[in-house]
Amino acid sequence: MRRESGGRVDRSRTLRFRFDGQDYTGHPGDTLASALLAGGVRQVATSVKLGRPRGIFSAGSEEPNAVVQIEEPFPEPMLPATTVELYDGLVASSLPGQGRLATGPDPARYDAVHAHCDVLVVGAGPAGLAAARAAASTGARVILADEQPEPGGGLLGAWPADVVEGLLGAEWATATAAHLKALPEVRVLARTTVFGYYDDNYLVAVERRTNHLGAAAPAHVARERIWRIRARHVVLATGTHERPIAFAGNDLPGVMLAGSARTYLNRYGVLPGRRAVVFTADDSAYAAAFDLADAGVRVAAILDVRPSPGEALAREVAKRGIVLLAGHVVTAAQGDGQVASVQAGRHRPEADPAVAEHAFDADLLLVSGGWNPVVHLFSQSGGRLRFDETLGTLVPGDSRQAVEVAGAARGVDTLSGCLADGAAAGERALGGQAAAAAPPPVDVPTAGGQAFWLVPASDYAAHFVDMQRDVTVADLHRATGAGLRSVEHIKRYTTAGTAHDQGKTSGLLTTAAVAHALGERMGELGITTFRAPYLPVSFAALAGRDRGPLHDPVRVTALHDWHVANGALFENVGHWKRPWYYQRVLADGRLEDMETAVLRECRAAREGVAMMDASTLGKIDVIGPDAGEFLDRLYTNLMSSLAVGSIRYGVMCRPDGMVFDDGTVIRLAEDHFLLTTTTGNAAAVLDWMEEWLQTEWPSLRVYCTSVTEQWATVALVGPRSREVLAGLAPGLAVSTADFPFMTWREAEVAGIPARVCRISFSGELAFEINVTSWEVSRLWTAIMDSGMVTPYGTETMHVLRAEKGYPIVGQDTDGTVTPQDLGMSWVVSKKKADFIGKRSFSRADTVRAGRKQLVGLLPEDPDFLLPEGTQLVSTDVPATVGTVRGGAPPRTVPTLGHVTSSYRSAALGRTFALALVSGGQSRLGERLYAPVGDALVPVTVTSHVLYDPEGTRRDG
């Protein structure tokens, strides 16, 4: 019920919203929760396991119950109604413990800011504001972040009538924040939750910038923004969460934390009920009872578990005609769908079950078990927590990071104390030597309560601990009964504390109930770890702008536009977009399928002339007097003996002897080489070279430079490639005698200065023409203008190389394959004293029989294309071929290897594959089986070189 006046909502404006199909109204300043309470709504959710009705339990981000689905303007699941600011047009519905993700794309934008500051203050309550003001007074760069839309923290709900520096608390907070905002080095972030605290004072926060505007949110403003903050010093003024008490029926709608009820009254001008009972173990709930009573709520009784609450309070109680039962507890809250009556009885400290002796009619049951400092971020910082027996809760100890906790978050429980504590922390944050001074110890709270967590009973099935997970004290007893002792184990066994709220209200209650069950003290049970994020954060916010095309960088070659314009489909290779194959329009107007296109491109390369954009190959320039020696150590074969003008294929291994990369090395001058790497490994190979140069061989005089982007490469392939090149480079002698295989020449091609290499990755006569990236379009067009050349993509390149048995590092190898396994013993030098990997080639594991070796496979059905990755088995039960159900041979049949590459070959007129097979080289001619679906497909093992094994086509 909304009061006529009071609170911080703007009654001059009305906001319309809809909940579970019903229309309601509220005001600016409301949360969805306060507006629902004003509208008389008690049940806002249904529990996930037991289907019990659940209401609004708190007034903040600790809410375990009132989790709703936002339907409009954009669907968002599982938001606590206590944290959703009300806006016009909001449509929400109650949830049975689980939400629904949006099915359409999120139209909002999200972004991120990196910030650095001298002091980050988390929380803009009295302590945080005082800390920020003290720190800012010296001109320090300060960020003050607070999760609420307006500053003030406890001043907004708990201390509304208190005066600070001559102003009412909330006005003081507004004025102080305005003063801070006006300072040039201070940033005040409202609606901003710091949710993660990492090493070296790196904190991450989410700012909700337009969520509260609903459909009126401007499209150009980021909906949420992630702040990544590196702070020299951090002050955590994160306040407290009120503690619940476990008793029968403590989850009914109408049961509410006492301080939260006070907030609904004082901040939102809402009465959360008409007739209340208060159940408390500390003084603060009396303030709530008095505020509510003074506002017209009938407070039927205060049940205080303590034997004697004190004279002053008793007088105030009496003045209002409230029944005070000291030494009493609630034995049960009862009602159909919400609280209707409260049973109470005497508390028996011997832990005997309490018996109901009184009953009160009530629609509101306020509960306070005391207060827990919000230590989540402090714990995340690596700070140690200490269990304080007096407060009955965890308090911050020391931290290795430059962080300090101020105010209620370290147990200070008066307004003046919080203001002084915050100011002192802010001052200490600045000075070098002053910073070393430890904060003064907190006095034991004067109005301290008694740590009281659970009402003893004979049946604990309705004593709820974690309301979001439907975990009761009885569930905890099942865990301890099963022998579990560790709170961490019990948490996992029962799921207590694992819901969206991460146990903000249930965590310590769980520990207390376990301690009660085991007859131990809470402090002895250990502390569960607090982990980021403090609050659920949407993936959209974390992704920020890094989604869609910006999710990962895209690299394209200088010829990309031509490829797009000429029907190329693209394959991702690392970050590169490479033409996969070019799709032609057929005579009947349809587009070629991939199989047809690739067979056509392969035929052109083998029978005529074709070309490929090979610019993505990694290229590293290596220069220096020791360059030859350096490459000798890196490659398995000898590079220093390479003649200027010549080219050599080489393989690099890791020290363990496994193939790391391969490519060609061309010698430009005595002290100057250019090497190529595989497309995906270009950066890794440069890193590898620099690592060895810097960490092991700093005396070698060598410089390595990536020139991948500077050079563009066109591979001109096929028996007629010489003819095309001769036409474009009249000054270049192209005959085999003048320009032999594995040499390079400088020449003008199509009038462009070029370095032409006779390298072949297909077995055909081929030239790789390298020009600057600026001019490659002109070269490519000139070659196309010859009218003879078919462009081809990576798929054709793969087929052509596989026909020749050339492995692709990373496809036919996987980091467990030596050059010898690939049938390339010839590339491993016997002459060199050492090179990276050499010693490993005589290890027991690399010389053993049965290593997986690269072989070819021919399916017995020449039209059957083996899926890459298919396992290979040898089986003595050929009778079962094609009849084994489920595709699996008997379990005792060992896997011998797997298919690494598989294609249709135009040249072979059939399908074929490459595979790594145990002892493969000794199995040539053997029949193996490939389980594919329900069938065992017979295949014959062959040499991995299937096309032109004699190499007759190399010179055209």
Binding site: Y198, D199, D687, E690, E691, Q694, D834, R839, A844
Partner: protein, 93 residues
């Protein structure tokens, strides 16, 4: 997570700019051919995994691209010292 790493060449920079290189002071053996299989396997595969101070290699790969060594506490992530390749591990109390 998200350490502030003091590169000896560039000063304190975010962890995202660096590349981790494992245990430091594991030198490539002088003469691998002279080692037994077991000794070679120790070089290849065996690394310390202490709780506490650990000398490890980092490369400022998105910065100056220099390799250097750091003495980091693996339990707290505190970096006690950074030093250049070839320098001895600093003595810390």
């Amino acid at each position: 997570m998200m350490l502030l790493i003091p590169c000896p060449w560039c000063g304190p920079r975010d962890e995202a700019e660096f590349h981790y290189g494992g245990q430091a002071h594991v030198a490539y053996p002088e003469n691998p051919a002279a080692l037994s299989d077991e000794e070679w396997a120790r070089y290849l595969f065996f690394r310390d995994n202490p709780k506490g101070a650990f000398a490890e290699r980092w490369s400022h790969s998105a910065g100056c691209r220099r390799w250097f060594n750091a003495l980091r506490d693996t339990a707290t992530n505190e970096i006690h010292a950074v030093y250049r390749v070839g320098e001895p591990r600093p003595v810390t109390s």
